[in-house]
């Protein structure tokens, strides 16, 4: 308990939601990285982080220890960080596919919520950690870390929703949907199972769509910051410029990266 130094770092995954930005040199090119990550997921689902060694991972992957270390020079912690990055990227790319296929806003919200909820619930490694090493996971679900997680998820999903609303509104709605997914995933409800499309549709139609219409209709539009939230230190300037607060050209790198999926001007354009 209390070994938070080794806590899984979701934060870093935020800077690179798509697997397109490996900042690191040679080890990133190892053909074995994904195999090691997948083997680690199997180990984590069985034994958690505390009892999973590089040997276990190597055995599970059918590779030698040396090969694992060539792919991940930092060893176990390095592998664990890659697991988080990879799983976030997999979640977001699955979300991208579902959101991209949706024909209207309700469909997009339902598809995104069901996809994310199902993946979270079906994630064996995550399930083991929540049950046996909660300190690895729960820290991301409250206060500042939760803000980061909301920012990461909404930064990635907002551009897909911007097909139906302004980027600023899309940011809010994406964040809201993320809150809903997290709340029902962390503490399942006796009323609503969001992995079930029928129940998710009911929740979206009952609570979310009227809220979106109200957001739209309320004349009061406080300045909505669509720059990546909670990542101030990564940004070139400390405070967002007025231009970055609204639809405009002054978007940050992270924003461009996040919107790399769909092309909001041509919704049907870029789906693969």
């Amino acid at each position: 308990m209390g070994n938070l130094g080794a806590s899984l770092r979701v934060v870093d995954a935020g800077a690179s939601p798509a697997p397109t930005a490996p900042a690191d040199p040679a080890s990133q090119l190892s053909p074995h990285r994904e195999r090691v990550v997948d083997a680690t997921l199997v180990c984590l689902a069985r034994h958690g982080t505390l009892k999973t060694t590089v040997d276990d991972i190597a055995r599970q992957a059918g590779l030698s220890r040396a090969t694992v270390y060539r792919a991940f020079p930092g060893g176990r912690d390095d592998v664990l960080a890659a697991v988080v990055d990879t799983e976030m990227a997999r979640l977001f790319s699955a979300l991208g596919v579902r959101l991209g296929e949706a024909r209207d806003l309700t469909e997009a919200l339902v598809a995104g919520i069901v996809e994310a909820s199902s993946r979270i619930r079906g994630h064996a490694a995550l399930g083991f950690l929540v049950a046996h090493e909660p300190e690895m996971v729960l820290g991301h679900l409250a206060f500042d870390e939760s803000d980061r997680l909301l920012a990461t998820a909404s930064r990635f999903t907002a551009p897909f929703l911007a097909r139906w609303m302004s980027p600023a509104e899309a940011g809010r709605v994406a964040e809201w949907a993320t809150r809903i997914v997290l709340s029902y995933a962390i503490a399942p409800s006796e009323y609503t199972d969001l992995t079930d499309p029928v129940q998710a549709t009911r929740l979206v139609e009952t609570f979310v769509m009227p809220g979106i219409r109200a957001l739209n209709a309320s004349g009061v539009h406080p300045p909505i910051d669509i720059t990546p939230f909670g990542l101030g230190s990564d940004l070139p300037t400390g405070t967002p410029s007025p231009a970055s607060r609204t639809r405009g050209p002054a978007r940050s790198d992270q924003d461009r990266l996040a919107s790399a999926g769909p092309n909001t001007d041509h919704p049907e354009g870029d789906r693969s």
């Binding site: 820290g139 409250a142 803000d147 709340s183 009323y191 979310v208 809220g211």
Partner: protein
């Protein structure tokens, strides 16, 4: 019998307040039964009689006690509010401000977050249930949209309130106008019918 029971309650309260003072000074990890007893001006034996589980029980009890205190203040803050919208606005603003300014909470979150996180996340049922139960009469008075289940709506609102309390995201919860907008859009738009009083 009654006198003894109330004396025991007073002792319990005194020990909890003393323990809280220790936690505020040193964090949970460095708070021992000895320290708590000294701070409360009672013997170690009294602490163990009151909390037979010793340090672990004492720590759990003080976390639960501080949480209750927080909600007691919250309920006090929203007393006298005029209807559902105002209750939610005032409640959210107060909760946000209290959490940001809560030194002990911030200290514990930095040093021993594992002591608090379960009750805010996977074990949030009690807190969420408390918020939902509190909202039900206001929802009844306000009237919910046809076809919306009152209890389910209260549960949904409690989930969202907890979420915003813990992580404001893009909303500035110190800004009354934004909170009013939040309450009337993401929180209540699908739940209540007709115009509000605000």
């Amino acid at each position: 019998m009654r006198v003894r029971a109330s004396a025991m309650r007073a002792t319990r309260q005194r020990i909890l307040e003393a323990t809280y003072a220790c936690v505020a000074r040193w964090g949970i990890a460095k708070t021992t039964v000895e320290e708590a007893a000294r701070e409360a001006g009672v013997s170690r034996a009294t602490v163990y009689r009151t909390f037979p589980g010793g340090r672990d029980e004492l720590v759990d009890a003080v976390v639960a006690w501080a949480t209750l205190e927080f909600f007691a203040l919250l309920y006090q803050e929203v007393q006298g509010a005029d209807g559902l919208e105002e209750v939610m606005e005032r409640g959210i603003m107060f909760a946000h401000r209290s959490i940001v300014e809560h030194e002990v909470l911030q200290l514990v979150m930095q040093t021993e977050p594992e002591k608090l996180l379960p009750s805010l996340t996977v074990e949030s049922n009690r807190i969420r249930g408390g918020i939902a139960d509190f909202l039900v009469p206001y929802l009844e008075e306000r009237g919910v949209v046809d076809g919306v289940d009152l209890v389910e709506a209260a549960d949904f609102l409690a989930r969202m309130v907890l979420s915003y309390m813990s992580a404001p995201g893009r909303w500035d919860l110190d800004d009354r106008a934004q909170v009013a907008q939040l309450v009337r859009s993401e929180l209540l738009a699908g739940v209540v019918a007709g115009p509000d009083r605000g």
